[in-house]
C-alpha cells in the first residue's frame, strides 16, 4: 500500500501549496475584463413571424473567425425574431450532408459557405429547388449565382490577396511565405495567388494543419530556419498569426508577420509590434447581413446588393487603427 499513500500525500501537498500561494492572480483573468461593452444594438426585436435560419460553414473547430461570424448572425437573429441554427464541418462531403439536414428540417433560409464549391453544389441547388432561399457567405462569389443563391456576402479572395501583395511591395519586402492552414480550401489558395500577382518579390506557399497549432508552429519555424531569406510571413487567419509570431521568435527570424483577419490576440500583437498589418474582411458583417438578407427577403422581398456579390473587405488595418478597434475585438465582434 505504499504507492497509493505516497500519491495521496503528494496530492495533498500540491493542494496545500496552491492554497498557500493564494488563489488570486494580480493581472489578467476574468476580473480584468471590461464589463461595460456588450454587443451593439440590443434594442427590441421586430414582430414579424418567427423564422428558422440555418448556417452551415466549412469551419474547423474553435476558430475565432467563425465565432465572430456567428455573433453577427446571432445579433441579426435576435433583432429579426429568427431561430438561428449553426453547424459546421471542414470536410466537403460532411458539409453537404449538414446542408441536407437543414433542408430536412424545413428551415426558412440557409446560409452556406462555398469554400469547396463542388462539394455543396448539388445540395445548394436542391435547397433552392425546394423553395428555401440560400445566401452564400465568405468565399465563393463566383459560384453563388450559378448555384441559384439569392446573394453573396463576403470578400473577393483574389482582390484581398492582391491588396496584401501591394502592401508587401509598399513595405519593401523581398520574399514572403504564405501559410495555408486549411489544405484544399480554394479561397485560401486564391489569397496566396492574389498576393503573388501584385507582390514584386517572390511568394512561397506552406501547407499546415490549422486545427493543430503546435504542429503548425513547428512547420513555420522549420521553414524559417531553412529559408533565411524569407522576410515576411503572411498567415491567412488570425489564430495562425499567433502561431507565426511564436515560430518567428523560436527561429530567431526577423521576418515580419502579416495576417488576414482580426481578433483580440492580433490587436494585442499590433501593440507589441509583432504584426505588421492585417487584412480585415469584417466577418461580423458577413453573419449579420446574411441573416438580415434572408429576413428582408422573406418579409419585404429585398435583395441586398441587387443580386451582385456584396464585398465586406478587404481593408488594411495597421497599428494606427488599434485604438478604435480594440474594444470591438475584445467583445468578439471585429
Amino acid at each position: 500500500m505504499r504507492t497509493p499513500r505516497t500519491a495521496t500525500t503528494a496530492a495533498v501537498a500540491v493542494a496545500a501549496l496552491t492554497l498557500a500561494l493564494g488563489g488570486c492572480s494580480s493581472s489578467g483573468g476574468k476580473s480584468s475584463e471590461d464589463k461595460g461593452s456588450g454587443s451593439p444594438g440590443g434594442g427590441k426585436g421586430v414582430n414579424t413571424p418567427r423564422l428558422k435560419i440555418a448556417m452551415v460553414t466549412h469551419s474547423g473547430e474553435g476558430d475565432t473567425f467563425w465565432d465572430i461570424v456567428q455573433s453577427g448572425a446571432k445579433q441579426a437573429a435576435a433583432k429579426d425574431n429568427v431561430d438561428f441554427l449553426y453547424s459546421a464541418n471542414k470536410e466537403g462531403q460532411q458539409q453537404a450532408q449538414l446542408v441536407q439536414a437543414a433542408i430536412d428540417q424545413k428551415v426558412d433560409g440557409i446560409v452556406v459557405t462555398l469554400a469547396k464549391p463542388e462539394a455543396v453544389k448539388d445540395v445548394v441547388k436542391k435547397a433552392v429547388a425546394a423553395g428555401i432561399p440560400v445566401v452564400t457567405i465568405n468565399s465563393g462569389a463566383d459560384f453563388s449565382k450559378e448555384f441559384g443563391a439569392l446573394g453573396h456576402i463576403g470578400q473577393d479572395e483574389g482582390v484581398a490577396g492582391e491588396a496584401v501583395g501591394d502592401e508587401l511591395t509598399k513595405r519593401g519586402r523581398k520574399k514572403a511565405l504564405c501559410v495555408i492552414h486549411e489544405q484544399g480550401n480554394v479561397s485560401l489558395e486564391q489569397r496566396c495567388a492574389g498576393a503573388k500577382k501584385t507582390f514584386r518579390g517572390s511568394v512561397e506557399n506552406l501547407d499546415v494543419d490549422g486545427t493543430n497549432t503546435p504542429a503548425s508552429t513547428s512547420s513555420i519555424e522549420a521553414k524559417l530556419q531553412s529559408a533565411k531569406d524569407i522576410d515576411s510571413v503572411v498567415t491567412l487567419g488570425a489564430p495562425m498569426a499567433a502561431a507565426a509570431v511564436k515560430a518567428k521568435g523560436d527561429a530567431n527570424s526577423s521576418a515580419e508577420v502579416d495576417t488576414f483577419d482580426l481578433n483580440a490576440a492580433v490587436i494585442k500583437q499590433f501593440k507589441a509590434k509583432e504584426i505588421g498589418f492585417a487584412v480585415d474582411q469584417q466577418p461580423y458583417l458577413q453573419g449579420y447581413l446574411a441573416v438580415d438578407e434572408l429576413w428582408l427577403n422573406k418579409t419585404n422581398g429585398d435583395v441586398i446588393g441587387g443580386g451582385r456579390p456584396v464585398l465586406t473587405g478587404p481593408a488594411i488595418v495597421t497599428e494606427k487603427d488599434v485604438p478604435t478597434l480594440e474594444k470591438y475585438t475584445a467583445r468578439g465582434t471585429r
Binding site: 473547430e61 441554427l85 449553426y86 453547424s87 459546421a88 470536410e91 466537403g92 462531403q93 453537404a96 450532408q97 449538414l98 441536407q100 439536414a101 437543414a102 433542408i103 430536412d104 428540417q105 424545413k106 469547396k116 463542388e118 462539394a119 453544389k121 448539388d122 489544405q183 484544399g184 480554394v186 489558395e189 501547407d207
Partner: protein, 345 residues
C-alpha cells in the same frame, strides 16, 4: 449404448432459435441502435421524416461501406489505419488519370481499382513478411499516402484539388453506378445505401458460409494454431487487406462522382470512425470475434447520432461531446446486453 445417445453429442445439439439470436455478436449493438433511434425520435422533431431518415441512412452508408471490410479485418486480428486516406487516393487516381490521359472516365475507374487493390496487397504483404504489428505498417502507409495524395495532386493539377471531369465521356454512366439517387415514393435514396447493403450481405455470406470465412475467424483467434491445422494465414490476411482496398475504391468513386472534383487533403481521421463502427458492432479489438452485420449497425448508430444532433438543434459547440457520450452509452449497453446474453446462454 443406443443410437439416440450418440445423436445427442453436444456438438451436434440443435440450438433453439432464441439461443441462436442471443449468441450473435451484433445483438448488443442492435439494442443500442434501437435505443439511439428511440431517443432521437422523441428529442428531435424532424428526425422521423422520411427525408431525414434517408439523410441518416446516407451518412451511415458512407461510413458503413468501409466499416464492413474493416470489421472483417479486425476479426482477422489486424487494423488498417490507411483506410481513410486510401479512399481519397482511389478517387484522386481515377480523376487525374482520366483527365490527364483524356481517357474515357471508366478507364480511370479501372486503373484506380488496380492501384487501390495493389496498395491493399502491399499492406498485407508487408505485414505478413515483416511480422510487425499492423498498427506500424498501416500507420506508415497512412502517412505516405497522405503525402502522396497532396504531392501528386499539386504536381499534376497545380492546385490542391483535381480538375472537374464532369464533361468527360463515361462520367454520366459512372455517376449512375456510384453516386446516383433512387426515388422511392417521395424519398430520395442514394445508391451508396445499396452498395452498403450488398457489401454487408456478401461479407456475411463469406464469414458464415465459406471456407475463407472460417479462415478469417481462425487467423484472428490464434494465428499459429490456424497455420498448424493448414489455414493459409498469409493469403487470408492479404485477402482481407485487399477487401478493405476494394471498399475504399467504391467509396472513393462515390466521392469523385458525387462532386466531380476531389480535395487531396480529405479522408484523414476517417479510419478511426470505421474502426469505431466495427467495435460498436461487436468486433473484438483483439480479433477472432465479430460480424459484418454488426459493423453496419455500428455505422447506423454513428449516422443517427451525428445527424440526430443536428435535427435536435443542439448547440454545435457541444457536438463532439454529445457524439462521444452517445457512442459510449451505446457501447456500454452493447457490452451489458452481451454479458446478460452469455449468462443465460
Amino acid at each position: 449404448m443406443s443410437a439416440t445417445d450418440i445423436a445427442e453429442d453436444e456438438r451436434l445439439l440443435r440450438r433453439s432459435v432464441w439461443r441462436k439470436i442471443i449468441g450473435r455478436p451484433e445483438l448488443g449493438s442492435v439494442v443500442g441502435a434501437g435505443a439511439v433511434f428511440l431517443f432521437f425520435s422523441v428529442v428531435a422533431g424532424s428526425f422521423l421524416q422520411p427525408s431525414s431518415l434517408s439523410t441518416v441512412l446516407y451518412a451511415a452508408s458512407t461510413i458503413g461501406i468501409m466499416a464492413v471490410p474493416v470489421a472483417l479485418l479486425m476479426i482477422g486480428g489486424e487494423f488498417d489505419l490507411s483506410a481513410g486516406v486510401l479512399v481519397t487516393t482511389s478517387a484522386l487516381v481515377s480523376s487525374m488519370f482520366s483527365y490527364q490521359m483524356t481517357a474515357n472516365v471508366w478507364v480511370g475507374v479501372g486503373v484506380s481499382l488496380l492501384v487501390t487493390l495493389a496498395i491493399g496487397a502491399f499492406n498485407g504483404f508487408m505485414l505478413t513478411r515483416t511480422k510487425l504489428p499492423s498498427f506500424i505498417i498501416t500507420l506508415g502507409t497512412f502517412l505516405m499516402l497522405t503525402g502522396l495524395n497532396l504531392g501528386f495532386t499539386k504536381l499534376i493539377s497545380g492546385t490542391v484539388s483535381t480538375k472537374s471531369i464532369a464533361d468527360m465521356e463515361g462520367f454520366e454512366s459512372a455517376k449512375k453506378l456510384f453516386a446516383s439517387q433512387l426515388t422511392v415514393g417521395s424519398v430520395d435514396l442514394k445508391v451508396t445505401i445499396l452498395w452498403w447493403f450488398a457489401l454487408v450481405a456478401v461479407a456475411t455470406w463469406i464469414l458464415l458460409r465459406t471456407r475463407f470465412g472460417n479462415w478469417i475467424f481462425a487467423v484472428g483467434g490464434e494465428a499459429d494454431a490456424a497455420r498448424a491445422v493448414g489455414v493459409p494465414v498469409f493469403k487470408t490476411k492479404i485477402g482481407l487487406y485487399m477487401g478493405v482496398a476494394f471498399a475504399a475504391w467504391v467509396s472513393g468513386q462515390h466521392l469523385l462522382f458525387s462532386f466531380d472534383v476531389v480535395q487531396s487533403g480529405e479522408g484523414v481521421g476517417n479510419e478511426l470512425i470505421y474502426i469505431i463502427a466495427a467495435v460498436i458492432g461487436g468486433c473484438l479489438i483483439t480479433g477472432g470475434y465479430g460480424s459484418a452485420i454488426g459493423s453496419a449497425v455500428g455505422a447506423f448508430i454513428f449516422g443517427m447520432t451525428s445527424k440526430g444532433i443536428v435535427y435536435a438543434e443542439w448547440n454545435p459547440d457541444w457536438f463532439k461531446f454529445f457524439l462521444g457520450a452517445m457512442l459510449l452509452l451505446a457501447t456500454l449497453l452493447n457490452a451489458w446486453v452481451r454479458k446478460r446474453a452469455e449468462a443465460t446462454a
